[in-house]
C-alpha cells in the first residue's frame, strides 16, 4: 500500500507556474479555482524561494476531521479525496486546512460557496475510475491509469515531486547529499558573500556616489 505525497524542493522551484497550468490543463479547472499555486517568499530579495502548494494529502487530514458531513475519505494510496455529492460547501475544511487547498466556486459579489474543489492528486473521486461523471466532478484520474499527477510530471526543474513517500524522500535525500557537498564547497562562502552585497552598481545611486 503506497502512501502518496507531494514534495516541493525549494532549492529548485523557480516559480514558473508550470504546475499550476498543468493542473488547469489536466483537470480543466475554471478561472478562479486554483487547485495548486506557487508561493514565493522573500520575493525579489536575497534568499528568495518559491514553493508549489496544493493539497498535501495529510495523514491526519484536518479537512476530513472538521467536515460536518464527513465527505472526505482516504484512498488505499493515501490520497485524501472528497465526495462532492455529500459536500455542502460550508467552508470548514478551508478554515482548517494549513495549506489553503480547498477552493470554492463563488458567484459574483454576493456569493455563497458552491461545492468544495481541491487537488485530487489526479486521482478523481468516488465515481467509477475514468468515468465521465468522475471527470466532470473531479477532473482526471491519472492514478487509475498508472500515472502520477500532471503538475509534478511536468515540473520544469523537477522541483515538485509526487509519488510514494518512500520513493520521493529517497530522491530528495540524494539531492540533499549532493547539495551538502556543494554548499560546503561553495555555498557557505559564496552565498554569504553574496548576501552581504549591497544593492549597488546601478543608475542614479551610483552616479551620486562615484568619485
Amino acid at each position: 500500500m503506497a502512501r502518496m505525497k507531494f514534495y516541493c524542493d525549494a532549492a529548485r522551484c523557480i516559480e514558473c507556474n508550470g504546475c499550476v497550468t498543468a493542473c488547469k490543463n489536466e483537470n480543466e479547472v475554471p478561472w478562479g479555482i486554483n487547485r495548486r499555486r506557487v508561493v514565493t517568499i522573500k520575493d525579489g530579495v536575497h534568499g528568495e524561494r518559491s514553493l508549489s502548494v496544493a493539497c498535501m494529502h495529510c495523514s491526519d487530514a484536518p479537512c476530513a476531521a472538521v467536515c460536518p458531513v464527513d465527505c472526505f475519505y482516504t484512498t488505499d494510496d493515501g490520497v485524501v479525496l472528497h465526495d462532492k455529492d455529500i459536500c455542502i460547501g460550508c467552508g470548514y475544511c478551508f478554515y482548517a486546512c494549513p495549506f489553503g487547498a480547498p477552493q470554492f466556486p463563488q458567484d459574483g459579489a454576493f456569493g455563497t460557496r458552491g461545492k468544495m474543489d481541491k487537488c485530487t492528486f489526479c486521482a478523481g473521486g468516488p465515481e467509477p475510475d475514468g468515468s465521465a461523471e468522475e471527470y466532470r466532478k473531479y477532473g482526471s484520474n491519472r492514478l487509475a491509469e498508472g500515472k502520477l499527477p500532471l503538475c509534478a510530471e511536468m515540473c520544469a526543474t523537477k522541483a515538485l515531486l509526487a509519488g510514494d513517500a518512500g520513493v520521493i524522500s529517497d530522491i530528495y535525500r540524494k539531492r540533499v547529499v549532493n547539495r551538502a557537498a556543494a554548499s560546503l564547497e561553495w555555498g557557505a562562502r559564496l552565498q554569504r558573500a553574496n548576501f552581504r552585497a549591497p544593492d549597488s552598481g546601478t543608475g542614479t545611486e551610483t552616479r551620486k556616489g562615484h568619485r
Binding site: A10, A11, E15, N17, V20, N34, R37, V38, V39, T40, I41, K42, D43, G44, V45, H46, G47, E48, R49, L51, V53, P62, A65, V66, C67, P68, V69, D70, C71, D85, I86, C87, I88, G89, G91, Y92, F94, Y95, A96, C97, P98, F99, G100, F104, Q106, G111, T112, V177, R179, A180, A181, S183, L184, E185, G187, A188, R189, Q191, R192, A193
Partner: protein
C-alpha cells in the same frame, strides 16, 4: 580585500564529514594571518540561505507584510489571485480545529443538555407556577398585534436557525449513524442553505425588535432591587417592576448584543468573497458559535418561563393579560395602567373581540 584559496574541489560522499573537520581546521589556520574582515570568516557550517525561509513559512501573511514593509524581508507573493493565497501555512487552522472539536462540540452539548434537563426537572418538580390564585376577571392590554407578530416572527426564525445550526454542529456524530451520509448530506445542505437565508432575516427582526422595545427596556429605578431579590425567588413576594422587569430587560439586551454579534460574525461567514481571510473567518465562527450557544441556553430558560409561569404566555398570544398576573409581576405598570383607566373587564375584552367579530370594525390599538 583578501581572498582565500578555494579548498579542494571534490568531495567524496563517503568522506565528507572528515573533510568538514579538516577543511575547517585548514581554513582557520589559513585565515589567521590574512586577518580578513570578520564577515568573510569561513565557516564549515553549512549556511543555506534557505534555512531561515522556513521560519517565515509558518508565519502568516500580515506579519510577513509588516516585516516586508520594514524592509526586513521581501514580500510573500503568488501569481494566483485570491484570498490568503500567499499564506503558505495557516497554523491557526489547527487551533480552530481543536476549538471546534475539543471545546465547542463537547462543551456546548454539555451546557445545552444540562440546561434542558435542569429545566425539565424543574418543570416536573414545580409544575406551573401560579402567582395568584385569585382570578380578578380584569384584563390589561400588554402587546399589540404588531408586537406579537414581531415576537413570533423572531421566535420562528430563531428556532429555525437553532435547529439548522445544531444539525450542522452535531449531525456528524448524532445523525449520520442514524440516517447515513447521503440523507444527512441532504439535511445538512438544506440546513446550511436555510441557515444562510434566514440569518439575515434574524438580523432584520432583531433591528425591528430593538426599534420597538428599546425604550421600555431602559434601566429604571427599582430594577436593581428586583435583581437582588432575583425576581422574587428570594423573599417570597415578587418585587415591583415596570412594563418589563429586570430579568426581561437583561434578556432583551443580551439578545440584542449577542444577537448582533452573531449576525455580524454570521455575515462574515456568509459572504466569503469580500476579501476576508481565513483568520477572520475562523474568529467569526468562534464568536458565532459561542454566542449561539449562549443565546440558545438563555432562550431555553425564556421558553421555560413562558410555559411554566401561568399567564405569562397570554400577552404574546392574545395581547391581554390577567390583571392579577400583571399586579404580581409588573406592579408598577399595572398600577399605572389602572390609573389611566385601561383596565378592562373580561366582558369588555370579549365585547371588543365580539364586536369585531360581528361587524368587522378594526380593533383600535395604539400604534398598530
Amino acid at each position: 580585500m583578501s581572498f582565500r584559496p578555494p579548498p579542494c574541489r571534490r568531495v567524496t560522499r563517503s568522506g565528507w564529514i572528515c573533510w568538514v573537520l579538516l577543511a575547517g581546521l585548514a581554513l582557520l589556520v589559513a585565515d589567521l594571518p590574512a586577518a580578513a574582515p570578520s564577515h568573510d570568516k569561513p565557516s564549515a557550517k553549512v549556511d543555506d540561505p534557505g534555512t531561515d525561509l522556513w521560519r517565515f513559512v509558518r508565519r502568516r501573511a500580515p506579519e510577513l507584510r509588516s516585516l516586508a514593509e520594514k524592509g526586513a524581508i521581501g514580500p510573500v507573493t503568488t501569481q494566483v489571485k485570491g484570498v490568503d493565497t500567499s499564506v503558505l501555512i495557516n497554523d491557526k487552522g489547527q487551533e480552530w480545529r481543536l476549538y471546534r472539536h475539543r471545546m465547542l462540540i463537547p462543551i456546548s452539548a454539555i451546557v445545552l443538555g444540562t440546561v434542558a434537563v435542569l429545566l425539565l426537572l424543574l418543570y416536573l418538580a414545580v409544575g406551573r407556577r401560579v402567582p395568584d390564585p385569585r382570578e380578578t376577571g380584569k384584563r390589561l392590554l400588554r402587546f399589540v398585534a404588531y408586537e406579537r407578530t414581531l415576537h413570533w416572527f423572531m421566535a420562528a426564525i430563531f428556532l429555525f436557525l437553532g435547529v439548522t445550526g445544531l444539525t450542522i454542529l452535531y449531525g456528524r456524530p448524532l445523525l449520520i449513524p442514524l440516517v447515513g451520509k447521503e440523507s444527512f448530506s441532504a439535511m445538512a445542505s438544506a440546513s446550511k442553505e436555510g441557515h444562510n437565508l434566514f440569518g439575515p432575516l434574524f438580523l432584520v427582526s432583531l433591528l425591528l425588535f430593538l426599534q420597538r422595545f428599546w425604550r421600555r427596556n431602559l434601566y429604571s429605578r427599582g430594577d436593581l432591587r428586583w435583581l437582588i431579590r432575583l425576581g422574587g425567588l428570594l423573599g417570597g413576594d415578587s418585587p415591583p417592576a415596570g412594563f418589563f422587569n429586570m430579568g426581561e430587560k437583561m434578556l432583551f439586551w443580551l439578545l440584542i448584543a449577542v444577537g448582533l454579534l452573531i449576525c455580524a460574525s454570521g455575515l462574515v461567514l456568509l459572504f466569503p468573497n469580500f476579501g476576508q481571510g481565513r483568520l477572520l473567518m475562523e474568529g467569526a465562527h468562534l464568536i458565532h458559535t459561542l454566542g449561539a450557544v449562549l443565546l440558545l441556553a438563555t432562550i431555553m430558560a425564556h421558553i421555560y418561563m413562558g410555559i411554566a409561569t401561568k399567564g405569562a404566555m397570554d400577552g404574546m398570544k392574545g395581547g391581554y393579560v390577567e390583571y392579577s398576573w400583571a399586579r404580581h409581576h409588573h406592579r408598577e405598570w399595572a398600577d399605572e395602567e389602572e390609573k389611566k383607566g385601561r383596565v378592562l373587564s373580561e366582558e369588555e375584552v370579549r365585547r371588543r373581540f365580539g364586536e369585531a367579530r360581528k361587524i368587522g370594525v378594526p380593533e383600535r390599538e395604539a400604534g398598530t
